[in-house]
């Protein structure tokens, strides 16, 4: 657990550098790669920071298998075992394996014919009868900032800033992206910084329980952009649980020229989901939940929208949070609606539950996936941004509690509290 508040950041590069440093120091992430001058291909994007790639191994171990032998396959090791058929890009962990040189934790699996093999580029020692643990995998998180100059009807003309996070279960062979094409497991969310493209910013606030990383960037005075990624605290035991979510609120009144927060259709961080169809490029939240059939494509992902069409993704999987949505269908709608209490002026800190559906397995039914650690929803009618409640929870509005709608959306009394431990 850790937190760091009011970090001085001058520009987006320093924001991302601080997130990377915080996540690697306090939440078990590894800086997999940093790519300068990465090309973010899209209709309207223009990267102006380095692309930082964080990774983290998920050790949701499903089974343990004995290695029967190890043979030298040229410069790589070939492990032999009798067990499940592994697919290309499956990730496994070798237990008690003696590694003599650099070990990057990655194993690449080759096709099998009767016996399953996997290969590694490391130099190994004399322990040729170890075990490996199946079910582990590595998740990659791509962080970068860019500008978005045009979006149909929902942003003003001209550039607005955007802090982005993509979550992928494999490292792509190319770091070029195209927002408008689905190509494997690439799911992106972003939080807008509106007219403030590259700083200066009022401060950066970071929180983690060791698994989830929460990013709260004060874009202007008491105006916040929010991003969160990592892993849910799962209810039950199941493979998956990684998520990304961001405050993707950029609704814009084209006719009147100001931002607004459309409670039914905005896709806020930790939201219950939008009521109307939205396109992949502006969805806000994703949860990794391997499905049946395990195609390792987008069906493994639960999306934060009720409906999803036109881009090949259907409503086969959906994720819901107990955060803000002004609709009766939300899990915590009434708890939000009747807060704060009039008898003591306190607002309930509502746990950030995560629910997901899988139409392949249980049509029309929903599972509890878990909850997001170290963040809770609360009504901030009687609170100010950055107030401390319940000893160690710091309060922020979703975007801004009040202020100038020409600068950023006004989200009124809808707030989040992050745990300061």
């Amino acid at each position: 657990m850790a937190f760091s508040e009011d970090i001085a950041v001058t520009d987006m590069q320093s924001v991302i550098d601080n997130i990377v440093s915080f996540a690697t120091t306090n939440a078990g992430f590894t800086l997999h790669n940093t790519i300068a001058n990465a090309i973010i291909v899209g209709t309207d994007s223009d990267a102006y920071t380095d692309l930082s790639i964080l990774s983290k191994v998920n050790q949701d171990i499903t089974s343990e298998y004995a290695i029967s032998s190890v043979t030298d396959n040229g410069v790589i090791a070939r492990f032999n075992f009798t067990g499940p058929t592994l697919e290309v890009d499956d990730f496994v962990i070798v237990e008690d394996f003696v590694v003599n040189t650099a070990y990057n934790g990655e194993f690449y699996v080759t096709a099998t014919d009767g016996t399953t093999y996997f290969e590694t580029g490391v130099s190994f020692g004399s322990n040729e009868t170890g075990n490996f643990l199946d079910g582990a995998y590595k998740m990659y998180y791509y962080l970068y900032a860019d500008t978005v100059s045009t979006e149909p009807d929902d942003v003003p003309a001209g550039d607005i800033g955007s802090l982005n996070c993509r979550m992928m279960i494999t490292e792509p062979t190319s770091i070029n992206f195209n927002d408008n094409t689905i190509n494997g497991q690439r799911y992106k969310t972003r939080t807008s910084t509106w007219g403030n493209l590259d700083g200066g910013f009022n401060g950066l606030n970071l929180y983690t329980d060791g698994n989830a990383v929460h990013v709260v960037l004060e874009v202007y005075d008491n105006v916040f952009a929010q991003l969160s990624f990592g892993k849910v605290d799962k209810l039950g035991s199941w493979i998956g649980g990684e998520y990304v979510t961001a405050n993707n609120i950029r609704d814009y009144d084209v006719d009147n020229g100001f931002y607004f927060f459309d409670p039914e259709n905005s896709i806020a961080i930790f939201s219950y989901g939008a009521a109307e169809e939205v396109s992949l490029s502006i969805s806000s939240s994703y949860l990794y939940r391997p499905s049946t059939p395990p195609t390792k494509d987008f069906y493994d992902w639960a999306l934060s929208v009720d409906e999803f069409s036109g881009t090949g993704v259907s409503e086969d999987q959906i994720v819901f949070f107990s955060g803000y949505r002004f609709a009766t269908a939300s899990l915590s709608f009434n708890l939000q609606r009747f807060s704060p209490n009039t008898f003591n002026q306190r607002a309930m800190l509502i746990p950030m539950y995560v629910l997901s559906t899988d139409e392949f397995i249980n049509p029309g039914q929903t599972n509890f996936a878990g909850f997001i650690p170290s963040v809770k929803y609360l009504d901030i009618e009687l609170l100010n941004p950055k107030d401390i409640v319940d000893v160690n929870w710091r309060v922020y509005p979703y975007c801004s509690k009040e202020g100038d709608p020409f600068t950023a959306p006004i989200t009124a009394n809808h707030g989040l509290a992050y745990r300061r431990v």
């Binding site: 609606r337 009747f338 209490n341 008898f343 929903t366 599972n367």
Partner: protein
């Protein structure tokens, strides 16, 4: 938390005996045990329409979970007021205490005013004539949980309705009627009655409780009932919200036999599967607001601001009907949270010991285990048609 699992009561009067034993002698630690303030057979045979035989009224008081027992070292007459001396915690102004085993000869209003102390703490009580027990003990931080139970039988269409009536109050006045104890739901609104549908034949029961509340679950033939009362866990300090009382029956009005298959015979967590009108017009659950008003508590989609009723989360969440077990077939429990639009809108706190759970792939009276704790699954009396209508009772 103490509990009694799956025992047999010979009838609804035997169940009352067993509950008294559980609350007064079984619960540990001992300072969380309840006391019986009054236990009488009422010869009045006309309390209920078509009443059969007498009624039995039992007045119970719980000490409060945070109660600390401290010995009284002396009592002196302070100009008509009793001054109790003790060495113990500093008692604040308006803090309430309960005297254990103290003989009260006349009116007793249960309210003690605390005077300032210098070294030794004192508290004073007015308007009572106390007896000779000057070396008893008292509980500080006590909340005076008062629950009244009236065992009775009524000749009903489907057979004898052998039931309990329940009330809750903030204090006890011997001269007051069963339903009209200070601060009771009935004293606020005479429509606020609350019953448990039981049997005059043997049935299985479970008790769960501590110094702040109790739950009684029964299994009679194919139905399961759940009722109880006491304090919920408030989202407030004691000084902000004294007496966070709830009272939950499973039947209303009087004369509901255990096998009645309509919404008048519903547990507090039961709701109609089509229109969310859970108990017809007469829910048998009540939650006390800090101003003393009792909110009739529904399992529906929630009140409007200004309504004088409460609802229960997560039963208000329509999509909860679609929530099934976890991906590994384990179960998730959620607390029941009463909320209302009364007095500007409030979210009160959580019921303790009982939890919402899905009924997917599980049967009533099954036990599910979460983190080494067992939970008894209860259905909504007779109604099993909705995934919302199931509850897990913590057996710990």
């Amino acid at each position: 938390m103490p509990f009694v699992a799956a025992q047999t009561a010979t009838d609804h009067d035997d169940l009352l005996d067993k509950l008294i034993t559980f609350l007064t002698t079984t619960i540990t630690p001992t300072n969380e045990r309840w006391v019986v303030l009054k236990d009488v057979i009422n010869p009045d045979t006309e309390i209920y329409t078509n009443q059969i035989g007498t009624t039995r009224e039992v007045y119970l008081r719980g000490p409060g979970l945070s109660a600390t027992e401290t010995a009284i070292t002396g009592v002196t007459d302070n100009g008509g007021l009793a001054r109790f001396a003790f060495t113990g915690p500093t008692v604040e102004l308006d803090q309430e205490v309960v005297i254990k085993d103290f003989v009260v000869n006349t009116d007793y209003n249960g309210v003690y005013s605390i005077t300032a102390t210098d070294g030794t703490s004192y508290f004073e009580v007015s308007s009572i004539d106390f007896g000779s027990d000057e070396t008893g003990a008292f509980y500080t931080n006590a909340d005076s949980i008062n629950i009244q139970i009236r065992r009775h039988s009524i000749s009903a269409v489907a057979g004898t309705a052998a039931n309990w009536e329940l009330q809750a109050s903030t204090s006890f006045l011997d001269v007051n009627d069963f339903r009209e104890q200070p601060g009771s739901p009935y004293s606020v609104d005479t429509d606020n009655t609350c019953f448990a549908s039981l049997s005059n034949e043997s049935f299985t029961y479970w008790f769960v409780g501590n110094g702040r509340y109790f739950w009684v679950a029964t299994s009679i033939s194919t139905v399961t009932t759940l009722f109880g009362g006491g304090f919920y866990l408030p989202y407030a300090l004691t000084s902000e919200f004294p007496f966070p009382l709830f009272l939950a029956g499973n039947a209303r009005p009087e004369g509901i036999r255990w096998n009645i298959g309509t919404a008048v015979n519903y547990n507090f967590f039961g709701q109609d599967t089509t229109d969310l009108d859970p108990h017809g017009p007469t829910p048998a659950m009540f939650v006390r607001h800090v101003d003393g008003f009792w909110l009739v508590t529904y399992c529906d989609t929630g009140p409007s601001l200004g309504d004088t009723t409460a609802s229960l989360w997560p039963c208000d969440f329509l999509d909860a009907r679609d929530i099934i077990d976890n991906q590994d077939n384990s179960y998730t429990l959620l607390p029941y949270i009463p909320f209302s639009g009364y007095s500007g809108g409030n979210v009160y706190g959580e019921l303790d010991g009982v939890y919402w759970t899905t009924f997917f792939n599980i049967a009533a009276l099954d036990t599910i285990q979460i983190n080494s704790t067992d939970y008894l699954v209860l259905q909504n009396v007779w109604d099993t048609t909705s995934n919302i209508d199931f509850c897990a009772l913590r057996l710990e």
